[in-house]
């Protein structure tokens, strides 16, 4: 896992992908921060976090599109899959590398919070909730993106399918409002990534919400392993 992790991190920064992702995230977050907090002279940063969360639907697929698909296309998966490492280790290595880059992106919000705290007292609990929520929310999207990437050898297809999937997952709560049948409505609401995330934005660290995201990550990474496994049997 360590070897795959290090290689992936290196490749994010030798190819433009890592820079594009970070630059886009920093630029948009700076814009949201300037327009919502600085200009309005408010210590409330929740609208910035809200916008960033929506932005992830576009940015995460860029980060994850090549994780699995490129290996398949260039046949480098032959050296990974014939090396004495488990499939789980390979997938985990790729996940944590993407997560590291994503964490670098999210870390910038802490800088903004410190800037704001220079002007007035801020509610650190709420900010911490937002940061952790954004991190977990994005991490689960990374897992979804890696899964989508494992389904194809075309990066563009991978990006588009992860965009659609993450968008659908974000909209589950909207859909749940539309259905009348209660059990389904409940199910959709339980699975809604957005509702789970919303809890964090009030500074509430609900263990069940943390577990929800962690298990979503585990489930999608497990699916990815299954895809790799199944490909061998094809």
């Amino acid at each position: 896992m360590g070897a795959v992790f290090r290689r992936e991190v290196l490749s994010y920064f030798t190819s433009p992908i890592g820079y594009i992702f970070l630059a886009a995230f920093y630029a948009f977050s700076a814009f949201f921060f300037a327009s919502s907090s600085l200009q309005a002279g408010s210590t409330d940063m929740s609208s910035m976090f809200e916008s960033l969360m929506l932005l992830l639907v576009v940015l995460i697929p860029i980060l994850t599109m090549r994780t699995m698909s490129e290996d398949k296309k260039t046949k480098t998966d032959q050296c990974l899959l014939t090396a004495p490492v488990s499939l789980g280790g390979i997938v985990a290595g790729k996940f944590f590398a993407a997560l590291l880059v994503y964490t670098c992106a999210v870390a910038v919000t802490v800088v903004y919070a410190i800037i704001v705290s220079g002007y007035a007292a801020v509610d650190w609990l709420v900010i911490a909730g937002n940061v952790v929520g954004l991190e977990l929310f994005g991490a689960s999207f990374v897992a979804v993106g890696i899964f989508c990437s494992s389904l194809t050898e075309n990066q563009v297809v991978a990006a588009v399918t992860s965009f659609i999937s993450t968008l659908a997952l974000t909209m589950l709560s909207l859909v749940s409002n539309l259905v009348n049948w209660e059990p389904l409505q409940k199910l959709l609401a339980t699975l809604s990534f957005y509702d789970r995330y919303a809890g964090f934005t009030y500074g509430m660290f609900d263990l069940s919400n943390v577990l929800f995201f962690v298990s979503a990550i585990a489930v999608f990474l497990f699916f990815t392993v299954r895809v790799l496994e199944k490909r061998r049997w094809a």
């Binding site: 290196l10 030798t14 190819s15 014939t82 061998r232 049997w233």
Partner: protein, 315 residues
């Protein structure tokens, strides 16, 4: 040691590999010979655990590749058909990555240096793989298989894309490695398997057509000892004298140039008529200009063997 038992791979209805069995002993170089699409790469992919077999078993040093893949893979160095290179890395970064990936225990710097000097990539060590020529990429691919010094080497067309000098060097290297490794290599170049391998498995349409030492293989197919001789002199006289030698079955003219006729002389198996031929010719005053064994080349063997299977297939 590699043991393969009734290994089969189906792609949908297509049988890419159809129940092949063979054994490669320790310190043996086994050549896998077959035309395009014979199933060489598919077999190697199954041996290395890249794809799984539809049925059958592959044991690497007694470990089933599907039952305990991690343990089995530890013993294998694999050079696939297309070298699995991360082209955005330098050779150094790449080999270090492979070193980590294989959880290699040998001293890092000196081991990687050894590997690089074996395949002669020292002077491109710090270059980005993307910018290397095809031959050098092939060598990096080979280096990658050698990292960790695994006892079993599986090489899919290792000399593809190399220049003639390198081909000879790599062949020599493989022969040297064969002394203390078990090597399986595939090729469609007959002279290559002939030059390098102890044992040859000929495969066509996913089935084994022949499995023998190179020597046995030609013996089995020709059945008779065949000489090719260039003799100066009148055809009638020479042919008569040759046919008089005991054991000679056929003597026919192949070619003629400036009064020197090339004959193909077929004798009973196990008889050596070269001495008798010399004395017979000197008796009739017809000098032998050239005399050589003309056993069937692997080329011919190969065509015969695969043709045979084609006919079977059609029936």
């Amino acid at each position: 040691m590699i043991e393969v038992q009734e290994l089969t791979k189906h792609y949908g209805l297509k049988r890419a590999v159809d129940g092949i069995s063979f054994t490669a002993n320790d310190g043996e170089i086994l050549g896998f010979l077959g035309p395009n699409g014979a199933g060489k790469s598919t077999t190697m992919n199954m041996l290395t655990g890249y794809i799984s077999s539809t049925s059958g078993k592959a044991l690497i040093d007694g470990v089933d590749i599907l039952e305990d893949p991690i343990k089995a893979k530890k013993n294998i160095g694999y050079l696939p058909e297309i070298p699995p290179l991360y082209v955005d890395m330098t050779v150094k970064e790449y080999l270090n990555f492979i070193y980590d990936l294989k959880k290699c225990k040998l001293p890092r710097v000196s081991h990687l240096n050894d590997v690089c000097s074996l395949v002669k990539i020292d002077h491109v060590y710090n270059r980005v793989i993307k910018n290397l020529s095809k031959g050098y990429r092939q060598r990096v691919g080979l280096a990658q298989a050698l990292v960790g010094n695994p006892p079993v080497l599986i090489l899919d067309e290792p000399t593809v894309g190399l220049d003639p000098k390198q081909i000879i060097e790599i062949r020599t290297l493989i022969k040297k490695l064969g002394k203390n490794h078990t090597v399986i290599l595939s090729s469609h170049i007959l002279s290559e398997v002939q030059a390098v391998c102890d044992r040859i498995v000929v495969i066509s349409e996913g089935k084994i057509v022949a499995n023998a030492t190179e020597h046995d293989l030609s013996d089995r197919l020709t059945g008779a000892h065949i000489l090719s001789a260039q003799i100066e002199g009148d055809y009638e006289t020479v042919a008569k004298a040759v046919l008089n030698i005991e054991g000679v079955e056929v003597c026919k003219q192949i070619n003629e140039r400036d009064g020197v006729i090339e004959y193909r002389i077929e004798c009973e198996t196990g008889t050596d008529i070269r001495r008798e031929l010399f004395f017979a010719m000197s008796k009739i005053g017809c000098p032998i200009m050239e005399l050589k064994n003309s056993e069937l080349s692997l080329e011919e063997i190969f065509i015969r063997l695969t043709k045979g299977s084609d006919i079977k297939e059609e029936q």
